[in-house]
Symmetry: C2
Subunit: 486 residues, 2 copies
């Protein structure tokens, strides 16, 4: 009773029913996420259900990320969902930043609780309360712990994957003996995020530091990877915080150093959430549906027999086995109650990178007709001993093409501005990133946001060439990316 | 900066500090769980933190179980944490069973909610609310979905892993076209649990059906695997429910059958939680600490160089590489600030199945001294090309020995009783399982429980030979296992 993996058999989708990406990105996005069975709306406001096809992509991301962090020495663990309010309030900037978004448990086991419990929106406070117990000597450092879990930040209007009350993420939380080690860790996490986006999700990102206004509540500095969506808005795609000793001083996480002194630990935290999937679905795709990069596609190759015929079925099954032996994720769609046309629509909607069509002609000539999801070009390859390598080569090519396409889009939509008038004109007519010299100040940030809806997304890291602030004309070396954002 | 995996460097554990398992199992259990860094108490009442060493075992279980369920066609997904109270209340037995244990969110985003949200204690209601939307035709069936998540069932007194307000688990939820398929699924899940316990955790289990009193709230029938702990009490270790059409009728999950009729789906749900880890730690172990079965031990082999010497270090590293290439999980403990004695105590506490000691003598004679954690016997093997296979063989042997030992314990502590007097005497003096013919009734179940603290754990599945009820003397074919339980 093996179930036809990741597909709903009575799905009555027809291509013409899908909203057009070329007409309205946001309408298309919601429509494609629902129709391709990635996700659905949950019954409580702001919540969503991640359906198997969507969750399988999250599992791919988990597998990739776990490999990297474990090789580095980070260990997974699990900390409680409920944080006593008094604990959550300890770090003042932290509670100030999060208090408008909290969900609070007031009743448990039929009784009103003496102290309300916060449903974690992030786990700094509860984890560091424990770290205090575990750290005594410099020999206990570094602590490198990550957890994969669910967090809640109150939202009333769901935007599937991109804005939900509850989401899944990983949160890494480290403690180090000094600033240098903490900085190294903060940069390492940022690099993992960059690599995940660029090399797996085929999404180029801009990397840098957040402004004082936009940094994490309680952090010394926040680094972020930012992706540009097809509507010209930026998506904050993963963040890495240097917490300095802000939390360790409040939670009293101190250790005996090698020189005998008692020092507070330096800490970092870093997170990447199921929001990344929203960015993925928005970035790649067309009027026919999703377009999943092969490296993270739950199904990389779908095989469709053109007729229900013994020879065709046997050949299709043999090809499936060959490709699976090669390590590919393959689906054979041999439903005999669906037409070829509907099957093609269905798998294009689902964004499977490569489709193989096997008919009488193919069986007789030992060839296979294949269609790349990105170009929709229909081509032939030989069904011979090199098949596995050939298909792997096509998948690699799709992966590269998607990334190149997204890079071109990013390059074409990143503009510079020397004056505020130029800046306003671009933001009004074109959106995208605007790269400028800017001397950070809360006042000018507020003014720009009010007048253009754009915010500073990141400041490039490292020393830059001297230039002049696009607003004040004053000399500065700070180069910033501005954009409107999700 | 690879961190010394899964160990706390300043741990000052000494063997004499550990409570004795031979004196008090419960005190030893809590002590060993804390000291071996499997878990710790969370700040909110009833909660616990699963530390990396404990979580790594859960990850092993996830990997094993995912392989089985995915091969069967079950897909992972994620459903929301919060269930609107009105949805939770729909199935009357369900809400009646769970209402004393609920945690309730009454405030979100700074406001009192119009409708309180239940923090899921289990996900039948929210999942089946969605299934209704997804099921139309017999072609949408079966639905085979699992999720790995956290659930909350209010508890005030934490017993690490065994009783906590929040725990991690997997919950499988399936929908089928008829009773036959549902029964098959219910049995399949039970079989996965049996296999996991017996073949991986080295814990023999008794398998069968729960009484009407003990079945899941809302189920038609509940099957369970039950393990016998060293104090003679049973641990319910995994349950699989046939929900019949109880939920589908309430949630209106119906489909057009092949004959055109509209039928309600038959459903199952089945779960296994981090409680299984509690059973694992209780079952295996001794006065020196934990004893982890090799198949699920996060570290299978620890290598300890006896001196800090170039030749010894090189040999130790080479052995580590050899064993890792063989696919083993290996740790090299080359901390030079800890004595050999402390290292041995530490790794025995942690229950690592095999320890290798490498000194001058070993390097010169091309041998390795090894110690099995179960027997503590110190033996020699050759350090040659067969090393990987030899060590794998020793690990396999430890796995088998642990299971055989636990099976003997189970056999020696499973008794039969023909009369209630006999039953009472056994339960008073020896505990363990008592296997009896029993004609189920709520009245006699209550009476037995009150007078002996024992409850019916499971009824054996399938037709049994005729016998006589140990209480009433009436003829019955039902054979039950009774025990006091966790």
């Amino acid at each position: 009773m093996i179930y036809l993996y990741l597909m709903s058999d009575s799905n009555t989708f027809e291509k013409k029913e899908l909203k057009k990406r070329s007409e309205n990105l946001s309408d298309w996005y919601t429509d494609v996420v629902l129709k391709s069975e990635l996700a659905d709306y949950g019954p409580a406001k702001g919540t969503m259900v991640i359906r198997p096809y969507g969750y399988a992509i999250w599992e791919q991301i988990q597998e990739i990320f776990n490999k990297w962090i474990k090789a580095y020495g980070v260990e997974n663990a699990y900390f409680p969902l409920f944080i006593p309010m008094s604990l959550f309030e300890k770090e003042k900037d932290h509670i100030k930043g999060f208090s408008p978004e909290l969900a609070v448990v007031t009743h448990g086991g039929g009784k009103k609780l003496a102290e309300p419990l916060v449903v974690r929106p992030t786990s700094e406070t509860i984890m560091y309360h424990m770290y205090k117990k575990w750290v005594n000597s410099h020999r206990d450092l570094p602590i490198l712990i990550n957890q994969w879990n669910n967090v809640v930040r109150w939202e009333m209007r769901t935007y599937l994957f991109l804005r939900t009350s509850e989401f899944l993420w990983q949160e890494g939380h480290t403690a180090h003996k000094d600033e240098n080690e903490a900085q190294k860790m903060q940069l390492q996490a940022l690099e993992w995020y960059r690599k995940l986006y660029e090399e797996y999700l085929a999404i180029p990102v801009v990397v840098g530091e957040k402004s004082q206004t936009e940094k994490f509540a309680g952090a010394k500095s926040t680094y972020s990877v930012e992706a540009l969506m097809p509507d010209g808005k930026a998506l904050q795609a993963g963040t890495s915080h240097n917490l300095g000793t802000n939390f360790s001083e409040v939670f009293d996480i101190a250790f005996q150093a090698e020189d005998g002194k008692r020092n507070f630990v330096w800490q970092t935290s870093w997170g990447l959430s199921t929001r990344s999937l929203g960015g993925l679905f928005l970035t790649h795709g067309d009027d026919n549906g999703l377009l999943l990069p092969p490296k993270i596609a739950p199904i990389q190759v779908v095989i469709i027999p053109i007729n229900n015929d013994e020879g065709i079925n046997a050949t299709s099954q043999a090809i499936k086995t060959t490709l699976e032996d090669k390590g590919l994720r393959v689906k054979l769609d041999n439903r005999d109650y669906q037409s070829m046309g509907r099957k093609i629509n269905y798998w294009e909607l689902k964004g499977v990178p490569v489709r193989l069509e096997i008919g009488k002609k193919e069986v007789e000539s030992n060839t296979i007709t294949y269609v790349r999801r990105d170009t929709l070009a229909k081509l032939q390859i030989n069904n011979d001993s090199k098949l596995g390598d050939e298909i792997q080569g096509i998948l690699d090519n799709v992966q590269v093409s998607l990334f190149e396409r997204a890079k071109s889009y990013l390059a074409n939509n990143t503009r510079t501005a020397e004056t505020y008038d130029e800046f306003k004109e671009i933001m009004k007519t074109k959106r995208g990133f605007i790269k400028v010299y800017w001397e950070e100040s809360k006042e000018s940030e507020d003014k720009i946001k009010e007048e253009t809806k754009a915010t500073p997304r990141v400041k490039l890291l490292g020393h830059q060439k001297p230039g002049k602030c696009f607003l004040t004309g004053k000399p500065t070396q700070d180069v910033w990316y501005f954009a409107q954002s999700y």
